[in-house]
């Protein structure tokens, strides 16, 4: 079940929150868990059992991973302590291997069987928990109900954000359900819904048109326009979804982390990926990059570490070659940026750095968008005039701009901080609230009329 669907908006959400509101406080955790499981079942019932098993198994593993506090004044560890340390290590390695192994298995097989809903997200969630307990960053969670809610809570179950345990630890134990937070969260949710339905879905039509036409038949200007449209679509799709997740979290009393920070305002690819899908980036940094040494072991080692991270990031997104090309391009750009920075070579004008970013990121999204490498090369070829067009209709980009141009412009404008600033200014004013509430129903109307446009990231 996806957030931007009539079923979720008009059935699941109201019913869940009515039940949640009338549940006595002690029972709210159970309601949340049941709600999340029902939510998952409605999306992918065949792998519900896998989710439940994963939660339970990892809960028990977590109990065994608790770091024993070092006793002060002792210089040497007792044999017992050494044994415990060893077994903790092996337990962790095994648990990580099993979790990752299952994820990899499904990724490899996802051509033939579907990927279980949300597995990429909840697996990473669980791994973060286990590693943090091992490191002693957090204490093991002894309450299986809370552990279950941490992994399965429906706002972030399917598409993140990937939350570290300490971000929700307090609220898992006790949180308050207030009208104020409920309204505020629902407002944020509506912003996300608008981003998805009114921006992403609209601007995505431009890309769809080009797909339908066939990549060999688009003119070069149209190829660039459509690539830009895709860049906007994927952003507002995911950004919208993340806002909706945080909004629902707030309605429940949680403070989930943000996933995006106006990434298209970045001036380098490195900066872009510090602002894009922030929780995934920090997961890789925290649990892969830094353990490998980060950038502290010389440039060559850093390049290798970055390669590993980007390799894993590519595979995480999909198991076809185009994702490796996508990751590869970004890795190369990051390398080059590091080198230029070291030598003090920077863009002379700020405008140039923004243009650089938009061009590079747009090209990288094309690689992300087209799974078939043959089709991808045709598309890139058309972008750079290297491939002969077949049945190209001259002026096709003009017609497309006529039909979709306004959405493309709106999307580009919405990439700037102005949208968020506007929201923060208006959200507390009663008129702003009225307008936002009306816009909620505009979104519902659009969904009714055109069917639900599935969120792109929901197979990850």
């Amino acid at each position: 079940m996806i957030f931007s669907s009539v079923e979720f908006l008009l059935w699941f959400l109201p019913i869940f929150f009515i039940l949640y509101a009338i549940s006595p406080n002690k029972f709210k955790d159970v309601t949340l868990l049941l709600g999340s499981l029902v939510f998952y079942a409605l999306g992918d019932i065949k792998y519900l059992l896998l989710l439940v098993i994963s939660v339970c198994a990892n809960y028990f593993v977590g109990l065994r991973l608790e770091k024993i506090a070092a006793r002060s004044g002792q210089s040497k560890q007792t044999k017992e302590e050494i044994d415990i340390e060893k077994s903790r290590k092996y337990i962790l390695i095994t648990a990580v291997a099993v979790n990752v192994g299952i994820l990899l298995l499904f990724k490899l097989l996802s051509g033939r069987i579907g990927l279980p809903l949300g597995i990429s997200f909840y697996t990473f969630q669980v791994l973060a928990y286990l590693i943090d307990v091992y490191r002693g960053k957090i204490h093991k969670e002894t309450n299986i109900l809370r552990m279950a809610n941490y992994v399965t809570m429906f706002p972030k179950l399917v598409s993140g954000p990937i939350v570290s345990y300490d971000e929700v630890e307090k609220e898992l134990g006790s949180r308050s359900f207030t009208l104020e937070k409920f309204q505020s969260g629902l407002q944020l949710f509506t912003m996300g819904l608008m981003a998805k339905v009114l921006l992403a879905d609209r601007v995505g039509l431009l890309w769809n048109e080009v797909e339908v036409t066939g990549f060999a038949s688009v003119s070069t200007p149209l190829a660039w326009l459509a690539a830009l449209a895709y860049a906007m679509k994927i952003y507002f799709d995911f950004y919208g979804y993340s806002l909706m997740a945080v909004g629902i979290g707030r309605m429940l009393g949680f403070q989930l982390p943000a996933n995006f920070r106006t990434p298209y305002m970045a001036q380098s690819v490195r900066e872009f990926y510090r602002r894009w899908h922030i929780t995934l980036g920090r997961w890789f940094r925290e649990y892969v990059y830094i353990p490998l040494g980060g950038s502290r072991k010389g440039e060559l080692r850093t390049i290798c570490n970055l390669l590993v991270v980007w390799l894993l990031t590519s595979i995480w997104h999909g198991n076809t070659w185009n994702f490796l090309i996508w990751g590869g391009i970004l890795w190369l750009c990051i390398l080059l940026e590091r080198q230029f920075e070291k030598r003090g070579i920077t863009w002379k004008w700020k405008f140039a750095s923004h243009l650089y970013l938009w061009v590079v990121i747009t090209i990288s999204w094309v690689c992300f968008a087209i799974p078939d490498v043959g089709e991808l090369s045709i598309y890139l070829g058309r972008m750079f005039g290297l491939v002969e067009g077949i049945s190209v209709s001259s002026g096709d980009w003009l017609r497309v701009l006529q039909n979709h141009g306004i959405w493309l412009v709106a999307a580009i404008v919405a990439c700037t901080p102005c949208l968020e600033k506007l929201y923060h200014k208006c959200k507390n004013h009663w008129l702003g609230k009225v307008v936002l509430a009306a816009l909620f129903w505009v979104c519902v109307w659009r969904l009714l009329v055109e069917g639900n446009n599935p969120f792109m990231y929901s197979v990850f």
């Binding site: 769809n208 049945s391 129903w441 009329v449 055109e450």
Partner: protein
């Protein structure tokens, strides 16, 4: 006064939630969409009933005729401006909410259990005919059309069986592009594709727009007129200008509503009207272009059998004197009867580079009068 002020303040604080509920009630009422709540409850109740009934329970979801219950959600969009937001209403009340498939076959409601929930695929598909692509507005070429000499025409003879099984000879010839100078193409987004990529943009006239249906075609205000600001309807345009050949292809957008019979009823009406307005024109009824087997298997209202059923009926309208039936599917489909998958990306529309196959078919099937 104090309490009144406090109440007022409280209302302003909760303005979002209050407006949400109020606007929601107004919206659902005005657009007649309370069945979003009503239908699943009704369907569940019916389903429970059928569990206890012995007769009238059929597991099979026979979707041949693509029938759907009456209570499809009414389009919230006014039908007037077709060239703006022409939309196909997505049938949410189809029962998919609780994974049931409800179909009305032969007037009896049958319920079967569909999949509880399929993970949504991330394929970016062009939203078939549910898309909201604004209609393409096409300027018909200048009314004064130069008649070009026809170049060499080949003549093919084809024997066709009519309804009474008396073989009547329909002779086809092959023509060049310029033959279509006084031709009119009427259709939906597939015909728009022909307009964009068929190379006839400056030669023929096109009254076509995304989402066009048989129910709206005559009243669709999609025809631009030189010197005039607004657009005129197709019916008005047909009154003003005479065409030698009219190529007609509609039907995929209507598959989500009504039955084959209601579709054909309207279809016959429209063709009769066109015959009235264009007595000298040869009318080519094109069979609805197929979809790929993959698209057909998606489980919604678009499927190969339904299209075949409608094409069978459309073919019966051909009198082989003024109205003829052409089946471009004969050159576009694979062995399984679905659209050749390499010709399309979304399973419904031909890719630009394959539109020529369609055009060539039309060029090779011009009736010799």
């Amino acid at each position: 006064m104090e309490t009144l002020k406090k109440v007022f303040m409280w209302i302003k604080e909760q303005a979002f939630l209050i407006t949400l509920v109020l606007v929601g009630v107004i919206f659902l009422t005005c657009t007649g969409n309370w069945n979003i709540y009503g239908d699943p409850i009704v369907h569940t109740a019916e389903w429970c009933k059928t569990l206890f009934a012995v007769e009238n329970v059929q597991e099979d979801y026979t979707a041949v005729t693509g029938n759907l219950p009456e209570s499809t959600i009414q389009s919230a969009v006014s039908d007037a401006d077709v060239s703006g937001d022409e939309l196909l209403v997505a049938d949410v009340s189809h029962g998919d909410i609780f994974g049931e498939d409800v179909s009305v076959v032969n007037g009896e409601k049958e319920v079967s259990n569909g999949d509880a929930g399929e993970p949504y695929s991330a394929e970016a598909e062009a939203p078939a005919e549910g898309e909201t692509g604004p209609g393409v507005t096409m300027t018909p070429p200048k009314y004064a059309v130069s008649q070009n000499e026809m170049t060499e025409n080949k003549i093919n003879g084809v024997v066709e069986q009519t309804q009474d099984n008396q073989p009547r000879q329909i002779v086809y010839k092959t023509v060049e592009d310029d033959y279509f100078a006084d031709a009119l193409f009427i259709g939906d987004s597939r015909t728009v594709g022909m307009y964009e990529y068929g190379g006839l943009k400056d030669i023929s006239t096109f009254y076509a727009t995304t989402g066009l249906t048989i129910h709206k075609v005559l009243d669709a205000s999609i025809v631009e007129v030189e010197g005039q600001f607004g657009k005129i309807t197709v019916e008005e345009a047909l009154q003003q200008k005479q065409f030698a050949n009219i190529y007609f292809m509609l039907g995929i957008n209507e598959m989500g509503t009504g039955t084959v019979d209601t579709f054909m009823e309207k279809y016959s009406e429209v063709i009769a009207r066109i015959k009235e307005l264009q007595p000298d024109a040869t009318i080519y009824l094109q069979g609805i272009m197929q979809v790929t087997t993959r698209r057909s298997e998606k489980g919604d209202y678009i499927h190969i059998e339904g299209i075949n059923a409608r094409n069978e009926e459309i073919a019966k309208l051909a009198d082989n004197e003024q109205v003829y039936y052409l089946d471009v599917n004969s050159v576009l489909c694979d062995e399984e009867g679905g659209l050749e998958s390499s010709y399309t990306s979304d399973g419904v529309h031909l890719k630009a580079q394959y539109i020529s196959i369609w055009k060539e078919f039309l060029k090779e099937h011009v009736v010799v009068q």
